[in-house]
Symmetry: none
Subunit: 209 residues, 4 copies
């Protein structure tokens, strides 16, 4: 009986999670298309096919939905960090970096809407989630920093401000999201990855002259 109750509870929690996810996804589409402020709770309710009242059973506020949306997307990038971080260091710094850049830009391509959203809606993101996002950003940067650092140590790279370089890499990848209006008309993703990799590696390489 006790066990059953727990199971029920778990099941209930599962259903809750499913619903929350559904709401979040519906909201995500609207947030991305129309912006956070221009999306109304009614829009979300209509799009998700859930009544306003029910919606408030699963989420506590509009900002809460935004938080969920961010949490949901954070996972992807966290995965990126966790999966790759260990792998990358086994190769040569240049190879590592090339793989890192490629993986990152591929992720950016997948999450382009979300990344654009972050750039645009930073103001409306609840502070705790914003700092969480910045943290992820920094972790990614750190990943690149580590590789660059390793490259510097073995003389392949020559960089004065490693962190700045890492940020540069980050930004040169994010570009794929926020300059989409230009890039998609002039590049393929692969071309973009190739050229950015070259540009970055050349920017870091030592012993050039």
């Amino acid at each position: 009986m006790n066990e059953k109750r727990i199971l029920t509870k778990t099941k209930r929690a599962d259903v809750h999670d499913k619903k929350r996810q559904h709401i979040t996804k519906s909201a995500a589409g609207l947030f991305i298309k129309k912006g956070y402020t221009n999306t109304s709770i009614r829009d979300i309710a209509r799009t998700s096919g859930i009544s306003i009242g029910a919606l408030y059973h699963y989420v506590d506020s509009k900002a809460g939905i935004l938080s969920l949306f961010i949490d949901w997307q954070s996972m992807y990038l966290n995965d990126f960090i966790n999966n790759k971080s260990s792998v990358l260091m086994r190769k040569s710094p240049e190879e590592s970096l090339a793989i890192g850049i490629k993986t990152y830009i591929t992720a950016v391509d997948e999450l382009r809407d979300v990344i654009l959203f972050w750039y645009q809606e930073a103001r409306n993101i609840p502070p705790d989630r914003l700092s969480c996002l910045l943290d992820i950003e920094l972790q990614i940067t750190q990943l690149f920093s580590d590789i660059i650092s390793a490259g510097c140590d073995c003389g392949k790279f020559k960089v004065r401000d490693i962190n700045l370089a890492a940020h540069n890499i980050n930004v040169l990848g994010d570009m794929w999201a926020f300059r989409r209006w230009y890039l998609t008309q002039h590049c393929t993703l692969n071309h973009f990855i190739r050229e950015q990799t070259r540009f970055i590696l050349d920017g870091l390489r030592s012993g050039k002259y």
Copy 2:
């Protein structure tokens, strides 16, 4: 008498322009701090010390204020383009580029709020102004493209996708605006300019190996 009337008219137009500018500036501060959507006409009226009614004497709508704000800022960047473009080509490509980057980042530093605003509020910017902004953006990019192109011609640079490289420079400058949260805590402006210049030049330089 006729002359007087004209003078009066000119004076009046001047006063109008002054007021409009005042309103625009007040609004700009609010737009930047709170975002366009979250800024109300009442806010603007209060901040500018002008009654709502009077405000509508000088501007036609909230979107109109935004347009004024953008026009006002566009001038700065237009100046950047017009003043520099002729000057830059007299030097060597590398020198030109270094000067161009420095000037651009300096401009970004001055207009950081506005640039951030563009990145964030693109959605709410009236289409005509948005296309105007993109045009400026492309002109700036073109400026860099020309320099890179010249550098390639004389063998100093080796770049496959010149336009992409130009966009990279653009973005690596804009960074100073949209990664301010990180950069201002780790860099001075001068350090940033120096390192970005180095990074970019190295990224473009040929004959490295």
Copy 3:
């Protein structure tokens, strides 16, 4: 369960209709008393005892309320047309016309506010409803035209411009609404009906001299 849901739905729709009707009636009173433009949504909300927000659950706009009001009233006149049209032709033209006039003026008496409203607010009535009203007006006129026509055929009436005559009848009935300020002080409804009937019949009758 399905059935229950349908019932619920129907019930809900019913409640909606009731509320809409309530709002419409409240608004009607205000529209008639103060005019459409001089009636504010706040007035309607206050008078109907419904909050502004709730009000917009049931109607989509102020113009929408006006449309509802017109639709609601149109029904009455449509009934007049549909019920009477078949009945009238069984009698002699003169009798038919007398009955038709009496019935019409009785309807005018009932709908006097509304008819006055139509005369006064034509400008503000949404185009689709206005054309709907004109259509009803023309149908009524047609009713009279048909009777007059029949009367002419059998030699009882002698009328050159049948349609104009029908319009005359219409207008001589509507008078009861828009000359109320005079008529109610000098006539009873019955007197009015009697005299207008006589006036009209005499105006149409042939073989007089």
Copy 4:
């Protein structure tokens, strides 16, 4: 000197009157086209080419302009009454009535916008002017009453409710203004006058059977 002052004063008064007339005419056009409530003081100022401030030198309020407009138009109808009243009684009642109807409808044709305006905007007309208008209306009705009365006295007409008959004539003339949407597409003015005259005379004539 005293004389001069008086002249000046008179002149000034004249100029005032001219301006007032100009404003009134401009306003009239707008009132008729857009309705009283939907016409703004700004519209009137713009249309008349007079500044808002100046406008308030000559008139005291928006309602005041409306009053002026009504006064201005009242004159026409007053002329109609005064000029015709004496003339009409010299002829036979039937002839008199025919002339009266023709003259009245001709006046209606000229003043159609104004008459329509009265029907529509009665609500917004200042009470004193409204009663003034009703007075004119009654005077016109009286004119017809007198003729009908004379016709009854000499046995040409047989009417029970003379005042109602007079109102009928009035309304059957006004029709030309407020059913313009229908009539102008099916009648010429002359046809309308002819047929209405016939209809009315037949409606009044005695000894028919």
